[in-house]
């Protein structure tokens, strides 16, 4: 890394061209660069106008920033758990989304004894912890982080359970030709139901209701 300059000056007809050129010279994606116009009315030899731009390398590489976010996330959660008198071990790992556009998910797993109290009824307490930790982390890092918290493998277990439920209910809906409304669920739980049944040609799924009453209804897809 030591021979790479941390800023370059570029003369180009416009800002976009300058940044594109800097991206090539510095080998850093354009979105991580900061550009600053030094002189915006340079006349070149042909009499055309060019600008002089100084492009700065970011202080932190993206990998370092991710590491910093994950440490901050763990710190926030362990402080919250400390205040809640809960003893647990944390482990953090990034999960990269399938499309590169989206930021990776930061998964933090909480393991310990008797953590049922931290999961709560249908995962509500765990969801609250996740939400508060996300809000605190955004404030600390200045950007939104896709933080996902799991307690003792609850989410994975619940996902299997919801998939089985979805298939069973869909079968009943097609068999009897009548819609079935499921019990109210959290957003990520409803998403699992929708995803599980999206390729099932016999049914459609839809969420309705507000707040704590929001639930999925499975209806027969008769139009096909």
């Amino acid at each position: 890394m030591e021979n790479i300059p941390n800023s370059v000056e570029i003369i180009a007809p416009d800002l976009d061209t300058a940044i594109a050129q800097a991206q090539e010279e510095l080998g850093v994606p354009a979105k991580d660069l900061e550009a600053e116009i030094v002189d915006d009315e340079n006349e070149n030899t042909d009499g055309g106008l060019t600008i002089r731009v100084r492009v700065l390398m970011p202080d932190k590489t993206p990998a370092l920033e991710l590491e910093e976010v994950s440490v901050a996330g763990c710190q926030i959660i362990s402080q919250l758990l400390g205040h809640m008198e809960i003893e647990a071990e944390l482990s953090a790992a990034y999960q990269h989304s399938t499309n590169d556009e989206e930021d990776p998910y930061l998964n933090i797993d909480i393991e310990g004894e008797d953590l049922g109290i931290l999961i709560g009824r249908r995962g509500e307490t765990m969801d609250a912890l996740q939400y508060i930790a996300r809000v605190m982390l955004r404030k600390k890092m200045g950007r939104w982080v896709n933080l996902s918290i799991d307690v003792s493998g609850y989410k994975n277990h619940r996902e299997q359970q919801l998939r089985r439920l979805a298939h069973r209910m869909a079968q009943q809906v097609t068999q009897f030709g009548r819609p079935i409304s499921l019990e109210p669920m959290l957003a990520y739980e409803r998403r699992i139901i929708h995803m599980t049944l999206q390729d099932n040609p016999g049914v459609r799924t839809e969420s309705s209701g507000d707040g704590n009453h929001r639930h999925v209804t499975i209806t027969p897809d008769t139009i096909r």
Partner: protein, 79 residues
């Protein structure tokens, strides 16, 4: 017990508002129930309530963990 709950609320609220010095949590406690009143700067009220009350309800859920642990009811109100 109430003071532990007060600390938890203060810890969370301090780190999400823009004027932490204006945060005040008052406590009233009996053996069965803890009542907390939260006061923040007018500009920060929306931040602690959140869209559809999501933030304050999440704080309530977390404080309730301490309540369950010690078999006391907790109520958190915004002043």
């Amino acid at each position: 017990m109430g003071s532990k709950m007060k600390e938890l609320v203060e810890f969370i609220v301090h780190s999400i508002v823009s004027q932490p010095e204006e945060v005040e949590v008052q406590l009233e406690e009996t053996s069965k129930k803890v009542q907390l009143w939260l006061k923040v700067a007018p500009d920060d009220v929306g931040k602690v309530i959140g869209r559809r009350g999501r933030i304050v309800n999440s704080i309530r859920s977390l404080v309730r963990v301490l309540g369950t642990h010690h078999s006391v009811r907790v109520e958190l109100s915004i002043d």
